[in-house]
Each structure stands twice: as C-alpha cells, then as structure tokens.
Subunit: 366 residues, 2 copies
C-alpha cells in the first residue's frame, strides 16, 4: 500500500532513498575535503531521519532552537551547536541543555552576549557569529578591532572556539558560478579574519561555514573546519531552480487533492495552501512568484516536474497551480498532484510529519 492509496488531505511525502542519497553525497564530500560535517537538523527535525545521518558517520549536529537541541539530545546526540544568537530569556533551558550533552556550542555577536554566556556558569563552546555579506546578522567581517576586543574578554567556563558564518547570500546569487563565487569569497573573508585575529591575539580559531547552495555547488570547500548545510537532505524546487541540485534529488513533495480545474485560465486549484506549504517563493525567469513546482504521482514516487507548471498563488488553504493547456487533461478533480515546495524546511515545519512512499509515518519534533 502506498501513501497515494490513503492520502485525503495535504500530506508531506518523503522519498527515503533520495534523502539517504543526499546525505551520503554530502557526507562523502565532507570526508573527501577532510572537514567536519555538522549538518543542520532544522530542515528535517526528526529523530528517525537523524539516524540516517548517523549511518553516514555524522556525530555532531546543528540546531536552531533550544527545544530542537533538547529533542535531539534526548535521542542521544551529544555534540550540538545551537546556531542562533543566544537568547537571554532562555537562561535556565540553556543551562539544562549544556548539562545534558557532552558539548554545546552557542552563538555570540556582542560583548553583552559573551558576558551572558560566561555567566551561565556551565562549560560551553562559543562561536562568534560573523557577517561575510549576507547582511542578516553578525559581526561585520571587516570589524577586526571590535572582534579582537571580544577575544580579549576573560572566559573561565565558556571557551572561545571559533568563527561562524552563514553565507545566506548564496540564495539568489544567480547561477552556479555566482554561487561558487559567493561561497569562495565567504571562505576567503573568514580566513582573512581568522589570520588577522590570530596575529593580534595569538588565539587559535576554527572556522565554520556552510549553506546548501554553496556546499552543493562548490567542489572545493576551502580551508574551513566544518560545514553546516541543512536543506540538502531534501532540497526543494527553489534549490533546483537555481541549480543546487537536479530536480530528481528533491526528496519531499506535498500530495494535494485537486478540487477545481479552470482550463480556460490554465489553472488547477488544490487543497494545499499557505498553512501547508508556507508562503515562501522564488522569482521565476518570467518575473513571477513561484511557490513550487507541480508533478504527478507515479509508481514509487512522483514524476519529473511538469514543464511550465508551477504554483502561482497560495491563500490559507488554497493552492493555485498554473498548468499549461496541453497538460491539463492529465489532471481531474479528486486526483492528487505532488507539489515540490519552494522551501522544504518551512514546508516540513508546517506539516509536522512525513509519509514515506510505502505509507509509513515518520514523526518529527512537535
């Protein structure tokens, strides 16, 4: 019995063999490059999927919230990096988490937060969050003096481990060549900074980088100590649209019931909206927002994306699919279509569990 036999409403399908292949591929690249692989588990948020990483030799992970750290710590992960600037309001939970694992890494980007972490009174690794150009948050990579000041801060229970960045500006950089350029530039900037800081302070610092486009498209991962990509476990339509992966590596799709067809408008309406897919989109070559691609159920999975078809709009529960006229006759009310989401991390977080193709549930953190 496959999931298609019983799916009644928007359901997140997971192709286990594709996800395992994605994990193996990235793990192998990290091994080949001689660097530590610390995948970001915020994409899948599942203890069971975590075991697939263990099978590839992964021993350290990245999470994005204290609760996610607790969830994976309870499943035996004991080297966890919480890659989110430390939240002072979760003091007790942070202490408890640090005490429950062998090694907890925390992110700091100010003297005040460094002081907060030291005063937790528990041994933790401190990573300084560096902005190499993404302009989300972090210490500017050129603010060497300011960063050097942090390195002089007297630490007793906390230990300064290194410099960390998320070069999120690989998203939207353009083609593969542009992504590789952004990735290489980020690594260069991190190493420039590391070298200057070591000259000034004598401290040895590790460098942690890694976003899915950069790590997928760069053959040479450069002189870094660890990578932390997350999305690659599933990839998604946006990643495929800008070349991080071929469409056949996308490991998740949302099965959505068709509720209306409007052939004159080349439009199909599905049960599957913003609360299922999230409202993330990318801008297609025609300048239109694209919330996902459209595929059809197939024996053992789903078809290649239908050429020219995409999710053009989402409201709370509705998805509007643009489907070119010649393809419309393949789709009828009551059918299921498979939406390859724009952003698999947010879609997984919205749907809360996975149905494997053979119809088994895989639970995730709630």
């Amino acid at each position: 019995m496959t999931a298609y036999d019983w799916v009644e409403k928007p359901t997140l399908l997971l192709d286990e063999s594709r996800a395992r292949a994605n994990i193996a591929r990235m793990a192998e690249k990290a091994r080949r490059s001689g660097l530590r692989f610390r995948p970001h588990f915020k994409t899948h948020q599942s203890v069971e999927i975590g075991t697939w990483f263990r099978a590839e030799g992964v021993q350290q992970i990245t999470v994005s919230s204290v609760e996610m750290g607790q969830y994976f710590a309870a499943a035996g992960w004991d080297d966890i990096l919480l890659a989110f600037s430390v939240n002072w309001r979760q003091r007790s939970a942070l202490i408890a988490l640090a005490q429950s694992v062998r090694r907890l890494g925390l992110l700091v980007e100010s003297a005040e937060s460094l002081d907060f972490v030291e005063r937790l009174g528990v041994p933790v690794d401190v990573w300084l969050k560096i902005d190499v150009g993404a302009r989300r948050t972090g210490l500017d990579w050129q603010a060497v003096e300011q960063i050097a000041d942090l390195l002089h801060y007297p630490l007793h229970t906390a230990r300064l481990r290194g410099l960390l960045t998320h070069a999120g500006h690989t998203y939207g950089a353009g083609d593969g060549e542009a992504v590789r350029r952004v990735y290489a530039q980020s690594v260069q900037r991190m190493n420039d900074l590391r070298w200057q800081l070591q000259q000034q302070t004598g401290q040895q610092l590790e460098v942690s980088v890694g976003d899915t486009p950069g790590c997928s498209l760069s053959e040479d991962l450069g002189d870094v100590d660890e990578i932390r990509p997350g999305n690659f476990v599933f990839y998604d339509a946006e990643q495929a649209a800008f070349g991080s992966c071929p469409p056949e590596w996308i490991a998740v799709a949302v099965a959505c019931p068709v509720v209306a067809c409007h052939p004159r408008d080349e439009k199909v309406v599905v049960y599957g909206g913003a609360v299922h897919l999230s409202k993330d989109f990318w801008i297609g070559q025609d300048g239109q927002r694209q919330y996902g691609w459209v595929a059809l159920p197939e024996e053992g999975g789903w078809s290649a994306p239908l050429p020219g078809a995409y999710v053009q709009a989402l409201s709370q529960e509705h998805g509007l699919l643009h489907v070119p006229a010649p393809l419309l006759k393949q789709i009828k009310i009551g059918d299921l279509v498979c939406v390859l989401p724009a952003h698999s991390c947010l879609t997984a977080a919205a749907l809360g569990r996975y149905a494997t193709l053979d119809g088994r549930w895989i639970e995730m953190m709630r």
Copy 2:
C-alpha cells in the same frame, strides 16, 4: 503576573478586550443591516474564542477544513458552512460531519462536484462558489448559462441553498474608497446573477459574501443574506496599513526576544521568524516588503506601532526589524518587542495557541 514576566520565546499575545470589541462591532453591523452573521473561524481556530462570538448572538459559522468543522461541531456548533470547494478524497469524513450537525453547507463549483455531493447521501446545503473578480477559484459570475445548468441538476438529499463568493480582491484594492467600490461591485454582480438565475429557473437563492476589508469599510453591506468575514476578530498590520481598522484594534501581537542590535544599520534582530509569523507580507508605500509592525510591551498590552519601524525580512527563526535610529535606544538585547503580524490568520495557525495579557493560555485546534 503578565505574559511579559514569563515569555522566553516567540509567543502569540492576545488582547481579549480588543478581540471582544471587534466581534461586538461586526455583530452589531450585521444586526443593523438585518443580515445573518456567519463569521469565518479559520482565523482564530479556538473553541474558547468561539464562545465570545456566542455571547454576541452568533449561531452559525464558517470553517475552511473538515477537521475544523469536526473541532467546532464537537464544541456544540451545529450550523457550519465549509467554505472550501468540496474535497472528494474526504468522503467518509464529510458524511460523518454532516451527520453530526444540524446543518452543513458545502461548496461546489462544477457539475462533477455537485454530483459528488448529491451522492454523499446525506442532507447538506449546497452553495455555488462564484468568482466575482478575485480570480482565485469559482464559477465566473458572467457564466450564467453554465450556472443555470447546475441549478437544473436533480437533487434529492442535497439542497441548493445559494450563491457564495469571497471577494478577496478587496485586499490590495487600495484605499478605503477602492475597497468599498470592490465590495459594492461584488454585491451587485451577485445580485445580477441571482436575478438572472431566478428568472431562468424560478429558484430562490441566497447570497453569501464577505471579506474583512469589505465588511469593515462598507457602511452599507447591501442586499445579501449573510456575511462571512474572519480576520476582523484580530485584524493585523496589513489590514491597518490599508485602512480596514485603526492600529489600536489589532488584537494579537507576537512577543519576540531581541537577540542582536545593529544600530549602524538601524536594525534589530529578534527570535521570531517565518515559522512563527508566516512569510506573508504587504508592500509598503516605499515599495518594500513589510512582514509586520513593531511595538513595545506596555502595562496592559503593547504600545502604538513605532513610527517608521517594520519587519523587513524573515528567515526560519530570525526576524529582522528596521527601527529608525532615534528609537533604537529603547531596545536592548534580552528585551521583548511586540510584532504586529502582517497576517494574523497565518500567524495564529503557525503559533498554535494564545497567551492572554494576564498570562493565561487559550488553546486552539491542533
């Protein structure tokens, strides 16, 4: 003890008195207009908040999924309209829902779906979903012949009740005058259609309309039988930005811990991202995306929105707030700020429960 005393992570705050006033105001407008008030409960999704509507005399409701119907039916609501084109794959659940309430309304926009509903074999009301210009889904209001054909379909257990539309193009219509024009035009089109159909078929048809901007901004709700607004119970920053309500009617805010401040960039980084707020946005007057407004905690609630401040970007867990320099000194790492979300329906669905200002939890459907 207020919620601010214990909030550690992104938390949906609810100002009960504002929500109750919003409900009372819309209920009074419906009464004054002599029409049935069938509020859409997809915005709040909470049995407890439902009781606030009962207190204003509401006896019939709108929902957007079978599960939401089951949830409210279990709490005693027995006149429910499922305002989503009927999903054939939930046949058993639809029959069970119809049998558990006094009156269930279903939405149909094709002969095939009308046939499906008749074959459920249980008494239900059928509403024909009409598109009066929103171009999401539904039968084109000008396709009179096609719609008349549906009216000739022989029904035995199902009963054709009327014509229903969601004039979602009030969103983004522009100012209040433009919204009123779209609303009035929608009502006009529905009545033109009703008149022509009654001429052709002799059938009496009800008309159901209602979106929050149209119902909030139009003093004259026109010749309709019922209205179904939903968002008005909380409103949100987008509604206030285009004038559906003053900012002081917004009844929900997300309390978010500040984790970094970048004064040079006039930027504050909070714990509170796409998984908490959703990625819905509106386009501000400066052409920039706005994911919400920014306010500060205050005794008994939150301040007016900080002038010129807004949520400029969201990633999975991060919110980036633009805060003009003169206001920055009011905000420090470890503080809470209150984000008035762009779209309260999606934010409530993402966060899954409410904290009242006096620090009590209100649960919603899970």
